[in-house]
């Protein structure tokens, strides 16, 4: 099993005629994902690798069941595109676009909550369930995905898209495949935090352990630590914390939009302490992750 997506999941791509969207569409199709349509206003009637392009999301949802949408439109159009998909009944939104002001992200998240939809991202590479489906650019072309990702019992969540692949590659090489890998996004406010995705992994019988990649800034790691303590999770968690040098450089932004140390709670030292106190193993190096996982499986 997997979370969020599976081999029969259908999705659309909003902004499908854009350069990056065209690549992403090709990669997902090559990996076997079911893309049932694309949207670019004014371009109805064209196709992208055989995927028909429409003007409106409703043109697709009126005829076909749509599980999700990958949104990859310029920042100033993203909120509108996400609202359109949610109001058309789409329940899973993967927002690839970066540089969206957080006020607009919060509006998307608030509408998603009202309509019972889930947002992954923004500023993320999407979701990948090995041998099932890929929704977004995560892992790149299908041939590269098959080298780095393997099917297995580990759920992966990462604030960095690139490091999602690096970590899955390390796990695969050690014989630890993945149930689903989620690039959750690098912004200060994102649709789904670690703690918000944990219940899904918890409910997936094939997931036996969780690996997360984390960074300075925000309260997501503290939120996860609280969740673990309050929910007596069956899943052991191993975390890797990057950006430790940033503890000495308050006010400077590195890596991602949400990665900045503004107060003590933003530091890696504080996060590591909280996670360890909640029973989460913290790896010093990426290559230490597989052994720490195996110890607790």
């Amino acid at each position: 099993m997997s979370i969020l997506i599976h081999r029969d999941a259908t999705f659309i791509v909003q902004g499908i005629t854009g350069r990056e969207a065209v690549n992403l569409t090709r990669e997902c199709l090559d990996y076997g994902s079911k893309i049932v349509g694309g949207v670019t206003p004014g371009r109805a009637g064209r196709d992208v690798y055989g995927v028909p392009v429409h003007d409106c999301v409703r043109d697709i949802t009126a005829k076909t069941h749509v599980d999700g949408s990958v949104v990859t439109v310029p920042p100033r159009f993203t909120r509108d595109a996400v609202f359109e998909a949610i109001e058309a009944g789409v329940k899973l939104l993967v927002i690839v676009t970066e540089r969206i002001p957080r006020g607009e992200v919060a509006q998307m998240v608030e509408l998603a909550r009202l309509r019972g939809a889930r947002i992954i991202g923004p500023n993320c590479l999407g979701i990948l369930s090995p041998e099932e489906a890929k929704m977004g650019g995560l892992g790149g072309p299908a041939v590269n995905v098959r080298r780095a990702f393997r099917k297995g019992p580990i759920g992966v969540m990462s604030r960095s898209g690139g490091m999602t692949t690096e970590i899955c590659n390390t796990l695969s090489a050690a014989g630890l495949g993945q149930s689903t890998a989620v690039s959750i996004g690098g912004d200060a406010i994102i649709g789904s935090s670690y703690a918000e995705l944990m219940p899904l992994f918890e409910a997936d019988p094939e997931t036996k352990a969780i690996v997360i990649y984390s960074e300075p800034g925000g309260r997501m790691e503290a939120e996860l630590a609280d969740w673990v303590r309050e929910n007596r999770s069956r899943l052991p968690i191993v975390a890797f914390m990057a950006g430790r040098f940033m503890d000495e450089m308050p006010g400077m932004r590195f890596g991602h939009a949400g990665t900045i140390v503004e107060g003590k709670a933003d530091t890696t030292a504080d996060k590591i302490e909280r996670m360890k106190a909640a029973g989460i193993s913290v790896a010093e190096r990426i290559e230490d992750i597989p052994a720490l996982v195996k110890e607790r499986l």
Binding site: P75, R76, R99, I100, P101, R102, G103, V105, A106, Q107, V109, E110, L111, L114, G137, L138, G139, G140, P141, N144, V145, A148, S158, R159, S160, G161, G162, M163, T165, E166, N169, T170, A173, G186, A188, I189, S193, Y213, E215, G218, R219, M220, E223, A242, G243, F245, M246, M249, P250, G251, M252, R253, F254, G255, H256, A257, T259, R285, I286, E287
Partner: protein
């Protein structure tokens, strides 16, 4: 992007918040003139983008224009946390009977703006929240339902304020929320919000942080407030090296060579992407390496961009070698980065084999990339070598050189 106090106050005033009389002076003579215009006691405040102003001697009081001139001279010369003041804000001095705190910021967990109000202003609000929680009210705001002033009233009333004070404070706090929402701020704070001995409420000090992503959207406001496009307003001003790094990134729309940050070491870094750079920078330091810079390449930069970035880093005095490293890449082509960094070495008059301590970028088009690197006898490794181990090899080569 942080505003100076005088800019924050100018923004609040546009939306009806009551301020003390006063304005910004760039010279001591100007400060004297402003003090004379105001007449009577004034306060002079250094305009810096850092805290600890009072302790450092950046705030002074004066009873006459002459005293104001002397105080301004001292303040304008005083560096605070390495920052030279933009100017000195000369304001009327008010008799304050009580200080309040009002701020709007983001609650990352709830993913909503939160209005925080306290009748114990002027001191550290987090401390107040811990020691006197009943004096701190928090009201979350919707980003979809239009804001209405009753939310401000509820926050003010929640700490026990009533009567005329409640009706006078409510519109000031409501206007703060409106400013926060309208301009994509990440912080709008009035602290202290003072009540004078004659019963008026005034903005005594203000903080504003604008989200970097929203700069273009609010370009008109920034122009009107006199904030230049070139002002990054980071924790420290950019160095010449960093400005040139931004120019390299802007010179070509293909891919990213972003966030070039200068450090004082001798090992140049061509690293990426966002998370990979954080991981690799830690790894270099863990092995005792001294980075000359930080950067984030990604999104498949062109040969030219990788080449120019390499040249920039090699032009920094004292840089002996560079390490070229990324996480397993999927959208960036290994061969293109390899071509770019080799070209950068050659155009800098350096031997790539000697200059590139290690090349660790596995992923798309790696076979082509490795072939090119082999031709120039550059040490490279594939995904079986970890990022940490690659960093170790780079540092070891530096130490042996």
């Amino acid at each position: 992007m942080r505003f100076y106090e005088y800019e924050a106050k100018a923004l609040f005033a546009r939306h009806g918040a009551p301020l003390l009389r006063g304005r910004l002076a760039h010279t001591a003579a100007e400060a004297k003139t402003i003090a004379a215009e105001i007449g009577g006691a004034v306060v002079l405040k250094s305009q810096v983008l850092t805290g600890g102003r009072m302790k450092a001697g950046g705030v002074k009081f004066a009873d006459t224009p002459e005293q104001a001139e002397t105080a301004a001279t001292a303040i304008l010369e005083l560096e605070i946390n390495g920052q030279k003041p933009r100017g000195v804000l000369v304001e009327q001095r008010a008799g304050v009977a009580q200080e309040y705190f009002a701020a709007v910021t983001w609650d990352g967990r709830r993913k909503l703006p939160v209005l925080v109000f306290s009748d114990m202003g002027g001191i550290d609000i987090e401390e107040v929240a811990e020691t006197h929680p009943e004096h701190v009210a928090q009201v979350h705001l919707s980003t979809l339902v239009p804001f209405s002033p009753f939310k401000a009233k509820e926050a003010v009333a929640a700490v026990g304020v009533t009567g005329d004070d409640l009706t006078r404070l409510t519109p000031i706090v409501a206007s703060l929320v409106e400013v926060f929402l309208r301009y994509d701020l990440t912080l709008a704070e009035i602290n202290p919000l003072g009540k004078t001995t004659d019963g008026r409420f005034l903005v005594l000090d203000g903080h504003v942080d604008l989200e970097a992503e929203a700069r273009d959207k609010h370009a008109k406001l920034l122009t009107e407030l006199g904030i230049g496009k070139e002002e990054t307003r980071q924790a420290r001003p950019p160095t010449r090296f960093e400005i040139r790094g931004a120019e390299v990134d802007a010179s070509d729309h293909r891919g990213v060579a972003g966030n070039v940050v200068e450090f004082d070491g001798d090992l140049g870094l061509v690293i990426g992407a966002g998370g990979g750079s954080l991981t690799l920078f830690d790894a270099i330091r863990k092995h005792g390496g001294r980075p000359a810079n930080y950067c984030e390449i990604g999104g498949n930069p062109s040969v030219k961009k990788a080449c120019e970035l390499t040249k920039l880093i090699l032009s920094k005095p004292g840089v002996k070698k560079i390490a070229v490293m990324m996480n397993v890449v999927s959208n960036t082509r290994v061969d293109i980065v390899a071509r770019g960094v080799i070209k950068g070495c050659v155009e800098s008059g350096r031997d790539p084999a000697d200059t590139i301590a290690i090349f660790r970028i596995p992923g798309a088009w790696e076979d082509d990339g490795f072939k090119i690197l082999g031709k120039y006898r550059v040490e490279y490794c594939d995904r079986t070598v970890s990022m940490f181990e690659a960093a170790r090899r780079a540092v070891a080569k530096m130490q042996a050189a």
